[in-house]
């Protein structure tokens, strides 16, 4: 058994096993810290920074999903500084990404009184929906770059490595090597990426067709040649740089 670490979260004394993250320690005493990119069954990377908390003595805010507890830590999970940081993160996300399929993040926008229109010149990223295979679509206008899909495709589950980040900065997007259509990559269509996608950027094709207003009978009557014709139209490799 690992040794217990003693700390304070929002003034409450907490003991947690050494090696626990701040997120887990807080959760064990009923303090819920919001998360977006974090997933219980994926490796945490502290990418989205929504889980930041204030640790006494630390210069910057600390991501709770990856930071481990230390003896004597004093943590504020909902201080004004923390709330301001979360609000800004949410505003920037909402200004650049289509969050219409992410009810959890929408609820956070309300809770943190985020005002995405604070950035009137913000450019929404709106690449076209990629339909390059019969199983799932990729709608990267909804992608918040949480990295979960890349991780389950790699060591978190599949060891398949079909997708990764492409581009840099604002142009960062999840993509395949040389923007190849998915069937021509190492993809095995396990759909783990769909299972962990938090924003509906990855969706089973049938679900997507239903949302486009097709009836289930219409969907099932789509023949192979019809589906292929549709696929062909949209598999042109995206221009260099992807999203923009």
């Amino acid at each position: 058994m690992p040794e217990d670490i003693h700390l304070k979260i929002n003034g409450q004394a907490v003991s947690a096993p050494a090696g626990s993250t701040i997120l887990k320690a807080a959760s064990s005493v009923g303090v819920e810290i919001p998360t977006i990119c974090y997933h219980d069954y994926c490796t945490s990377n502290g990418l989205c920074r929504i889980c930041v908390v204030e640790v006494s003595g630390a210069r910057t805010l600390t991501p709770a999903c990856v930071a481990k507890v230390n003896e004597g830590m004093e943590i504020q999970t909902d201080s004004p500084r923390v709330r301001r940081a979360r609000k800004t993160i949410l505003e920037m996300l909402a200004a650049s990404v289509d969050l219409s399929d992410a009810p959890d993040i929408q609820a956070m926008l309300v809770e943190y009184q985020a005002q995405p229109d604070r950035y009137p010149d913000a450019q929404t990223r709106s690449p076209e929906v990629i339909q390059d295979n019969p199983m799932y679509i990729r709608d990267y206008a909804k992608c918040i770059l949480c990295w979960r899909c890349v991780q389950v495709c790699a060591e978190d589950a599949q060891f398949t490595y079909a997708i990764n980040f492409s581009g840099r900065g604002y142009r960062t997007q999840i993509g395949t090597f040389f923007n190849r259509p998915i069937p021509e990559t190492t993809c095995v269509f396990c759909g783990q990426c769909i299972g962990v996608c938090p924003t509906g950027a990855l969706k089973p094709k049938k679900q997507w067709l239903m949302e486009q207003g097709q009836t289930t009978d219409e969907i099932m009557r789509l023949t192979r040649s019809q589906r292929r014709a549709k696929t062909k139209k949209t598999t042109q490799p995206a221009p260099e740089g992807g999203a923009a």
């Binding site: 199983m135 799932y136 060591e155 190492t186 089973p204 239903m210």
Partner: protein, 719 residues
């Protein structure tokens, strides 16, 4: 989009038995996920579990009972794929017709004229009922299912050596192995979720993997050693490993003394299998055999995982025994993280076997020629003493061979597709034409159902309740998610309705019992007759399945077997000799053909070829090594003709180092180029399993016009 309902159930494809969550809107499954805390698959799925369910909505599915318009005669029976050749009828008319004809043939020719193919895709309850129907009503044991075509030799060998024929350990224990052997198993395509656990075992837990396989399968990428034996030379390789383990003092003397018997005879028979001899037969360099023996022999926890590359040979039983010998020799059995683990193919092949859909056994592997067992089932089914047949029934291949006047006249096929799955299909076709009366119970008019007189439309797994037993003996619930499509009915209900009609026509005074209100009652009846299922009830497995044996209602299940003793008492070593495959390559047929499956398809294709899955892998491809292809002047994608002594097919070549030189591979899912037209119907003398893994073929270039579906192409990048 928000679902109307979320239904937790068990995947209908392979033996892994993943938990699925079906997301439904308007009775349409539009999305499948898996809970991340699921015990079998930890939230991971493969393409079949995630996307392969849509066959059940296919416009090709038949959802009305059908009778052939033109009466069929034995010897002139034809296939009718088109609905215009069938008449839509009521359930009453279909079932009455089936009952009338079956009883008529039974009255005229007796029990030997009756036979059934049961179904490893169907539930335990469905299989239990069909074997009950055949045994109790027609007094014959002529019932079998596809276990005969897949793991029969593993089952027989395990019964001979340890007395139990399932995976000894839980699949997820692979992360507790120090060393594990994967042989005759393309795990990443056929048991993808177990493959993930194997990859994690190597990459994250430091296990060493030894792959013994004549194809360069994906798992070779993770292997410490790859032994590429010529197909059919498994015994020399594994016997030579035993030879080295014996010579180098790596045998577990304490385990051998306390838990095994017949060691001396075995050890003597291993003398001749020196690594040099094994190399000369198998082509595996002797240094690799020695390294593998040392690695397996000196591991603390070692396990062996195998699939159909081991049993599907004329010496399949010996192949499996060679693996069992290794485990007994090193004591790698009976503990966590060890074991003998035949990976079962079908979602419920373990369960269909447990449920007695086999010609030599009642449910629970109780032999039909054992007096006490027969009396037990006579009492349970209210049959007069001596009423049940004490003779072993015919196996899958024997049933087909016995179709002739004086032999089998009436065949009932529940869910199987022998016209794709039997070896030497030209012969199978001839036999199917000779059947006097044929009933097919299925979702689709497949190649076999097209021969039928009466077609009974069954429901898929998502439209009925029941249980499946997965490869590591876990009995799991299958839940009805949607109402039966059209006028289809669950298999168990069809069988009960038919049985009552047959019973009435036979004038049986006492009913064997067919008035079940729910499948739970069927499982309860079975659990009273099968000691390993005694403690299984639906209410106990609603949340999580139980691993058999479950001997009583409070027993928590059995994650690994044989900790104290083997069911037969001591584990028995078997001396072995090398027997070559029935058909070896020669000047006319210089290449060895081996067959199997691909990730995107399922067996005879009834399901996945009626799914969008067919888009991902739309045509048969023959895998051929670049060196062989260069010699034959064949390029990747080019049409080729593959010919054996029994048949010939045309398909595209896939030139790939996944095939080793001299060995080609064809998946057997594609009716347009059915691999089983080529395969050899020679069988293992003990287990009666056909030799799907070795037949001699030649390859010649073909023209584009000779392809059945030249337009069906999909470029793919996966390994």
């Amino acid at each position: 989009m928000k679902e109307d309902r979320l239904v937790k159930t068990t995947c209908p494809f392979c033996g892994v038995g993943c938990t699925l969550e079906l997301h439904l809107k308007d009775d349409f499954i539009y999305r499948v996920t898996s809970p991340f805390d699921s015990v079998v698959n930890h939230g991971n799925l493969c393409v079949k579990g995630r996307f392969g369910y849509d066959f059940l909505y296919s416009p090709n599915r038949v959802t009305t009972p059908l009778i052939r318009k033109v009466p069929q005669k034995p010897g002139a029976r034809t296939q009718a794929f088109d609905l215009s050749e069938w008449r839509e009828v009521s359930w009453d008319e279909a079932l009455d017709t089936a009952a009338d004809r079956m009883v008529e043939i039974y009255r005229r020719d007796g029990p030997r004229a009756m036979a059934a193919y049961s179904c490893a895709k169907a539930t335990n309850e469905d299989n239990y009922l069909l074997q009950k129907l055949i045994r109790a009503l027609f007094r014959t044991n002529n019932i079998d299912h596809c276990t005969r075509l897949c793991h029969a030799a593993s089952v027989v060998a395990l019964q001979m050596a340890v007395g139990s024929s399932a995976m000894s350990n839980t699949a997820a224990e692979v992360i507790q192995n120090d060393v594990f052997i994967v042989t005759g198993s393309n795990v990443s395509e056929n048991h993808p979720i177990i493959a993930l656990q194997m990859k994690a075992a190597v990459e994250k837990y430091g296990a060493k993997l030894i792959v013994v396989d004549p194809r360069r399968i994906e798992m070779v990428n993770y292997a410490a050693l790859w032994l590429a034996q010529k197909p059919g030379t498994d015994v020399p390789v594994f016997a030579a490993m035993a030879h080295v383990i014996l010579k180098e003092g790596l045998a577990n003397r304490e385990f051998i003394a306390s838990r095994t018997e017949n060691f001396d005879a075995f050890a003597e028979s291993m003398e001749k299998f020196t690594p040099a001899v094994a190399e000369s037969i198998s082509g595996v360099p002797q240094e690799l055999i020695i390294q593998a023996a040392r690695m397996y022999g000196s591991a603390k926890n070692a396990a062996i995982y195998w699939a159909l590359g081991i049993p599907e040979h004329t010496h399949g039983t010996a192949n499996a025994l060679s693996l069992i010998n290794l485990a007994l020799l090193t004591g790698n059995i009976g503990r966590v993280g060890t074991g003998l683990n035949p990976l079962r193919g079908q979602n419920n092949v373990q369960g269909a076997s447990d449920s007695g859909a086999m010609p030599w056994h009642y449910p629970g592997y109780q032999r039909v020629d054992d007096l006490a067992a027969a009396e037990k089932f006579e009492a349970a089914w209210k049959i007069e003493p001596g009423g049940l047949d004490r003779n072993l029934g015919l196996t899958t291949t024997e049933i087909m061979a016995a179709v002739q006047p004086g032999g089998v006249r009436c065949l009932y096929i529940m869910g199987e597709n022998p016209m794709m799955s039997e070896p030497n299909l030209n012969h199978t076709r001839h036999q199917m034409e000779q059947i006097e009366f044929l009933v097919a119970q299925d979702l689709f008019i497949n190649e076999s159902g097209a021969f039928a007189d009466v077609f009974l439309p069954a429901t898929s797994w998502a439209e009925k309740d029941g249980t499946f037993t997965n490869t590591d003996r876990r009995v799991q619930r299958v839940l009805q998610a949607i109402p039966p499509r059209g006028n289809s009915r669950p298999d168990w209900r069809i069988l009960c309705d038919l049985a009552l009609r047959i019973e009435k026509r036979l004038g049986r005074q006492v009913s064997a019992g067919w008035n079940y209100q729910h499948p739970a009652e069927i499982l309860e009846e079975m659990s009273r007759l099968v000691p390993d299922y005694a403690g299984i009830r639906y209410e106990r497995i609603e949340k999580e399945g139980l691993q058999t044996p479950v001997p009583d209602l409070t027993h928590p299940g059995t994650p690994f077997l044989f900790s104290e003793r083997f069911p037969r008492g001591k584990g028995k070593f078997h001396p072995l000799d090398y027997v070559p495959s029935a058909e070896m390559p020669d000047d006319d047929f210089p290449l060895i053909l081996t067959t199997g499956r691909v990730l995107e398809h399922w067996h005879g294709g009834s399901l996945t070829r009626n799914s969008w899955m067919d888009d991902l892998y739309p045509e048969a491809l023959v895998e051929i090594n670049p060196a062989d292809a260069a010699r034959l002047k064949i390029e990747s994608g080019q049409p080729v003709r593959v010919t054996s002594r029994r048949g010939s097919i045309v398909l595209r070549a896939n030139v790939t180092p996944k095939a080793v030189s001299g060995v080609v591979f064809i998946p057997f899912h594609f009716r347009e180029a059915a691999a089983n037209l080529l395969t050899n119907d020679a069988v293992d003398p003990v287990a009666k399993i056909p030799e799907y893994k070795v037949s001699a073929v030649r390859i010649t270039p073909a023209r584009e016009e000779e392809l059945a579906t030249p337009e069906a192409r999909q470029k793919r990048g996966r390994y």
